[in-house]
């Protein structure tokens, strides 16, 4: 057997915190062969990113690598001094980080950053380095690299920036690339391209890749072998096919079961189909929510003058003639890439953004124009936001956060009654009523999202808009939150608008679905029709791009 490219033995990383030591990585060992893509998967806090950082010698205080034996091509690379590590970083091990929006210095052109890195590691002069930089950008799939090399990072889209980051990682021909969540911040369609670029570039150079991700679908798509990590330890190692199809450890089995697959049918549809009731979808019911010819335009004209006189006008149609209806008690999924107008639609439906034209009707009442509509809207429509860390006021107690809609809408007079309702709501979202005196930072992401759901429920709404409710959460937590949402829907007869870029989640949760592309609703209909037999090219492209574990043979 060939000598491994990277060999990690007994890596242990400890964080010295005020309340004692915390072992983030606890004695893990693994190998990466030349040209191999090793997937490292696990939930947040599993220690996967720290492992990558430790190999590069980039663990910062209060973290410390206590025991380790790491070798690259048989040569020890752990415990070096700063200068020794600097010769390895970039030169022998390249790194790709998660968020392409923040990993490039905004004040330098991409060319300057590339040339700087190339000249640091390779004996080339300015002109040669620039030539090499252009070649790297071209290989990473950046069109017209001769022109784009002098552009600043903000002039690139997210996917293009990640290509720049990849070319930076490969600038000095490293033997190994550590890619830490390289696609998590990107849209599905872009995600697929980036995985492809990364895989091809590394394969053509014989570079080994350590691909760290929480997304099992990405691993299934890109990796040869994988390790599953949990709480700083390796739970299972093996080929991707073996682990995904025949997981042995209970943790791995749980993790894989929690992933909603794009290929699995909607459970309610399946149940209905089994009873032969598919067509019985009460077509004659009056819809709860009707969206008619909704438009939203943003005027991005450069100055007031050109706005007034119409010269040089620049109008963005964020939402362009969108119409759909949602039946009472059902879930409507809205999917599309970032910038497709999903969130703008949601903002117009909840009352945060006035539409340019068109109407949003709740039980036949236009929530923007009819008299008294504002009160009805505030009470009957609520929203759950994407990031539970940002959507709860950190200075407020949980009880006050949940009680705010009750107080603001004067739904209850006495404080005792408010407290009772809050306690009741907390029980409904499966939290202990005693937590109402705590602050949001004392809760995990999943618990916070439950609090956000309780807040949304507190005004007893009929219609809840969920904008990416689970995209900030781990898969197992995501499964729990989705389950809770389904249970609450059945209990209270709630109607949901579910916005998500995760098509698998939408397929699992929604009864009907709409696909948005550049503000236009390209397709809308019952979920199984759209997913089973997509008509629009764009929908088909989206579905094909989804990395999925079922693609593993």
């Amino acid at each position: 057997m060939a000598e491994p490219l990277l060999s990690v033995r007994d890596l242990k990383v400890v964080f010295h915190l005020r309340r004692g030591d915390f072992t983030a990585v606890n004695g893990i060992s693994f190998d990466i062969m030349p040209g191999e893509v090793l997937g490292v998967v696990g939930e947040s806090g599993a220690g996967k990113s720290i492992t990558g950082t430790a190999i590069m010698g980039l663990v910062d205080r209060p973290g410390e690598v206590t025991v380790s034996n790491i070798s690259l091509k048989g040569e020890r690379i752990d415990g070096l001094d700063e200068e020794g590590y600097r010769k390895i970083r970039g030169k022998r091990i390249g790194m790709v980080m998660q968020d392409p929006l923040t990993s490039l210095n905004p004040l330098y052109t991409v060319g300057e950053q590339l040339v700087e890195t190339i000249q640091r590691h390779l004996p080339l002069n300015q002109a040669q380095a620039r030539e090499r930089a252009i070649k790297l950008l071209a290989e990473a799939g950046i069109p017209k690299p001769e022109e784009r090399i002098d552009a600043y990072p903000h002039q690139f889209s997210g996917g293009m920036r990640q290509r720049v980051v990849i070319s930076l990682a490969l600038a000095a021909e490293p033997d190994l690339v550590i890619a830490d969540e390289p696609t998590s911040a990107l849209d599905v369609s872009v995600q697929a391209q980036i995985i492809k670029v990364l895989k091809e570039l590394c394969a053509s150079r014989g570079v080994g890749v350590m691909l760290i991700t929480h997304d099992m679908g990405v691993i299934a798509e890109a990796a040869d072998r994988m390790i599953v990590m949990n709480k700083g330890e390796i739970v299972e190692t093996g080929s991707v096919g073996d682990i995904i199809n025949r997981p042995k450890e209970p943790y791995t089995i749980k993790l894989i079961e929690a992933i909603p697959s794009i290929k699995s049918q909607n459970p309610r549809y399946a149940a209905a189909a089994a009873k032969g009731q598919v067509a019985a979808a009460n077509e004659d019911d009056a819809p709860l929510v009707t969206v008619e010819n909704l438009f939203c335009e943003f005027d991005l004209s450069p100055s007031v003058l050109s706005r007034l006189f119409g010269g040089n006008r620049k109008i963005i149609k964020a939402v362009n003639d969108v119409s759909f209806t949602i039946r009472r008690g059902s879930t409507y999924g809205l999917v599309g890439e970032s910038g497709s107008g999903k969130s703008t639609c949601a903002r117009m439906m909840v009352g945060l953004q006035p539409p340019t034209a068109g109407s949003v009707k709740l039980e036949g009442v236009d929530i923007w124009n009819d008299r008294g509509a504002a009160t009805k809207r505030r009470r009957s429509i609520q929203m759950i936001f994407q990031d539970p860390y940002a959507s709860l006021n950190p200075r407020w107690r949980v009880g006050d956060i949940i009680a705010e809609p009750i107080r603001a809408l004067k739904l209850s007079s006495s404080n005792a009654e408010v407290a009772d309702r809050v306690a009741d709501l907390l029980t409904k979202v499966r939290l202990d009523p005693g937590v109402m005196h705590k602050y949001p930072h004392e809760f995990s992401g999943g618990q916070r999202q439950r609090i956000a759901i309780a807040r949304a429920l507190s005004s007893q709404p009929e219609f809840i808009i969920c904008d990416e409710p689970t995209s900030a959460l781990d898969v197992s937590v995501q499964a729990q939150v989705l389950e809770l949402m389904t249970a609450l829907q059945e209990e209270f007869g709630l109607t949901y608008l579910l916005i998500s870029h995760n098509l698998a989640v939408v397929r699992q949760m929604a009864d009907a679905v709409g696909v948005l592309h550049n503000g236009v609703l390209v397709e809308s209909g019952p979920v199984e029709e759209i997913f089973g037999n997509p008509q629009a090219d764009y929908t088909r492209m989206l579905l094909d791009a989804v990395p999925d574990i079922s693609k593993v043979a």
């Binding site: 980080m97 052109t109 890195t117 600043y152």
Partner: protein, 324 residues
């Protein structure tokens, strides 16, 4: 870029116009200018004649336009106290103030930047603790106390440096400088330190805070992961990113160094515009006060304009937003 500068110039003109209005109102309505001008024995008829001659009976806006017209030509009337044209007075005092401000601003900027970067890069070092504690003194002690303390130590006890005045100056015709003589250079040391201490500590603390923030950013981590040298990361990538907020604050601070050097100038009897202003306030010399107000506003407007242009140069993201 050009459109941006023109737009900013337009806004600056508006600001100056507003300040001119306030200045004019003060000039015209704080006290009776005629009463300040004529002698005690003047009759009512004399006063009325003077009022008519000075155009004080004209409508408000005519007077205002005349005021602006004069201001544009650098005429702010005649000082009640010194019986000299105000413009001439200010111009004769300006070199002293500008030289003092220049030296103390350079001092504040260099020392502030260097110490700020140093303390940010070595947060655990003992010297950082010492510098940070000492900087509290600079922020919290009032200027006059520092000035008097310095005079006591270096002028009275050690007798190294003069305690007041500008020393010998050389007249270049349009500018009287203290930079060319030994006594002039020695005289500027103490006031410059006094004036710069507050700005210095402020800039240092700001640079340090910003730098610590920037060093936590992903692009710094990514730069380290590419194996770039420490110098390239700290001074190329990190320092440039700390500059944008630092430029804002520093710009405003430099404005106040010029405009509000009053206390330092008083303590050291520095013959600058600040002490001229203080003396004028004491005897309600309205033309000087009005002109000083305009002068200070002008300094701030110019500095803000420079700051905005510097943003443009430092941060490419603003070029797209503002330059279209």
């Amino acid at each position: 870029m050009l459109a941006f500068i023109i737009r900013r110039l337009g806004q600056s003109a508006l600001v100056m116009l507003a300040v001119a209005l306030i200045s004019f109102l003060m000039f015209r309505y704080v006290g009776d200018p005629v009463a300040s001008l004529v002698s005690q024995e003047a009759t009512m008829a004399d006063q009325a004649l003077l009022r008519e001659r000075l155009g004080l009976n004209d409508p408000f806006y005519v007077q205002f336009f005349r005021f602006i017209g004069n201001a544009l030509q650098g005429q702010f009337g005649i000082s009640y106290r010194l019986q000299q044209p105000v413009a001439e007075l200010i111009m004769s005092r300006l070199p002293a103030t500008i030289e003092l401000a220049f030296v103390s601003a350079t001092l504040a900027l260099t020392v502030g930047l260097v110490l700020g970067v140093f303390t940010a890069l070595r947060p655990k070092n003992w010297s950082t603790g010492v510098i940070m504690t000492a900087s509290l003194v600079g922020v919290s002690l009032p200027t006059f106390l520092i000035g008097i303390g310095l005079i006591y130590v270096f002028a009275v006890e050690l007798k190294w440096l003069p305690s007041f005045g500008r020393g010998q100056v050389v007249d270049l015709g349009w500018w009287r400088t203290g930079f060319l003589t030994e006594s002039g250079l020695r005289s500027i040391i103490l006031p410059a330190i006094t004036l710069s201490l507050f700005q210095m500590t402020l800039i240092m603390r700001l640079v340090r805070a910003e730098m610590l923030e920037v060093l936590r950013q992903d692009y710094i981590k990514f730069a380290r992961a590419r194996g770039l040298s420490k110098r390239a990361i700290n001074f190329g990538h990190a320092l440039k990113n700390t500059l944008v907020p630092v430029i804002t604050i520093t710009g405003l601070q430099l404005g106040s160094v010029i405009a509000f050097a009053i206390i330092t100038e008083t303590v050291f009897q520095w013959p600058g515009v600040g002490s001229l202003f203080v003396n004028s306030v004491a005897v309600v010399d309205v033309p000087v006060m009005a002109a000083y107000l305009m002068f200070v506003a002008f300094i701030f407007v110019v500095i803000n304009l420079i700051v905005d242009i510097l943003y443009f140069i430092v941060d490419p993201r603003l070029r797209v937003a503002g330059g279209r």
